[in-house]
Symmetry: C4
Subunit: 123 residues, 4 copies
C-alpha cells in the first residue's frame, strides 16, 4: 500500500487540439494518472474548479486492484465535458491510498511540448 487519499492538481488547461487532431495520442490533452497499488479496488472521485464558475463534478471512476488509470480530462463527459482553452484545477479523492501525477501534452505549434508533476497529497 502506497499513497494518500486526497490529491490536488492546481494547474489545468487543455490547449487547442492542434494539427494532429485525428491522432488522439498526439492531440493536446491533459491527464491525471492515478496508481492504485492496493490489493483492493479504488473508488475515485474528481472535482474540477474553474476561475469564474461553480465547480464541475463529481466525476466517478473505479480502478481495479494493482492497476493504473490514465484519466484524460478532454474525454470526460459525465456530468459534463471540460472545455478546452479554459483555466481549471482539480481535487481527487479515493477510498484507499493512491498516487496522482498530472501531465499535459501541448500540440498547438505542431511539435509536442510536455509538462508533468506529482500532485499535492494529504491524508
Amino acid at each position: 500500500m502506497i499513497g494518500k487519499k486526497r490529491w490536488a492538481i492546481a494547474e489545468g488547461y487543455i490547449p487547442a487540439a492542434g494539427p494532429h487532431k485525428d491522432t488522439p495520442a498526439l492531440q493536446s490533452h491533459e491527464t491525471a494518472c492515478v496508481l492504485n497499488a492496493n490489493r483492493e479496488q479504488a473508488q475515485v472521485q474528481l472535482m474540477v474548479y474553474f476561475a469564474d464558475r461553480e465547480p464541475a463534478g463529481p466525476y466517478r471512476f473505479v480502478i481495479a486492484p494493482e492497476r493504473t488509470l490514465h484519466l484524460r480530462f478532454d474525454q470526460l463527459q459525465n456530468p459534463e465535458p471540460i472545455p478546452r482553452e479554459t483555466d481549471y484545477a482539480s481535487v481527487i479523492e479515493a477510498d484507499v491510498p493512491v498516487v496522482v501525477q498530472h501531465t499535459r501534452l501541448d500540440a498547438r505549434t505542431g511539435s509536442a511540448a510536455l509538462l508533468s508533476t506529482i500532485g499535492y497529497a494529504e491524508d
Copy 2:
C-alpha cells in the same frame, strides 16, 4: 479543505516573448496556479525574490471560494512589473489552505516548451 498556507517556487524566469507576441496564450510566460478549494475566500500575498536586488511585493490577490487563479507573472503591475529574462523566485502566503503549481511556457524558438512543478509547501 486541502492545501497549505505557505508556498515557495524556487525557479522563475520569463523568457523573451517570442514570435507569437500577439497571441497572449502563446507568448512566453510563467504562472503560479493557485487553487482555493475552501468554502471561504482566500487572501493571497506574493513576494518575488531576485538574484541581486531587494524583493518585489507584496502583490495581493483575492480568490473566491472554490475557484482557481492562474496568476501570470508577466501581467503583474502593482507594485511593479516583473522584468523578462531575469532570474527570480517567489513565496506565496494565504490566510486559508491553498495549493500552488508553477508553470512556464517558453516560446522563444517558435515551438512551445513547457515546464511545471508543484510548489514547496509548509504550514
Copy 3:
C-alpha cells in the same frame, strides 16, 4: 543519508521511438533516476503496473554506494520488456533511503519534448 525507501511514479508511457531511432539518447524513452547517496549499496526492486493486466516485475538492481542509476524503462528485459505506447505506473522499493525522479523524452514529432517530476515518497 537522504531519501526514503518506497517511491511511486503514477505516470508512465514510452512514446514511439521517433525519427532518431539510431541515437539512443534521442529516442523516445522514460527513466527512473535513483540516487543512492548512502555509504552502503542499495538493493532496488521495481514493480510496473498497467491499465488492464497483471503487474510486471519485480525488476532488481543494485546501486553501489554514492552512485546514481538512470534506469531506462525501454531497456528493461528481465523478467519482461515494457511495451511502447502503453500506459503504466511504477513502484520502487529499496533497502536503504534513496531519491527517485521520473523523466520522459518524447521524440515522436522530431524535436524533443521533456517532462520530469520528483516521485511520491513514503517510509
Copy 4:
C-alpha cells in the same frame, strides 16, 4: 523562513550544447535554483554523484539574505567541471532553510525542450 536544509535532485544530465552555442541562455543547460528567503545569508554546499565514479564536490556558494541563486551546472569549475552527456544526481545542503528546484533546457534539436521539478527535501 521557508524551506529545508537538505535537498536532493535525483536526475541530472546536461545535453550537448546544441545549435545555439553562442547564446548562453539558449544552450542546453541544467540549473538548481536555490531560494534563500531568510533575513540571513545561506552557506550552500553541493555534491554531485555519478553512475560510475566517485562524487565531485563539495562546490560552495553563498546566497545573500532574501536572494535567489540560479546555479548552472554547466558553469561549475571548482573543484571540477561537470561533463556534458553524463548521468549525474546532486545533493544540496545549506545552513539555513532554503528551497530548491531543478530545471533543464535541452536545445539539441534546435527548438528548446524544458523540464523542471521541486527537489526532494529533508531536515
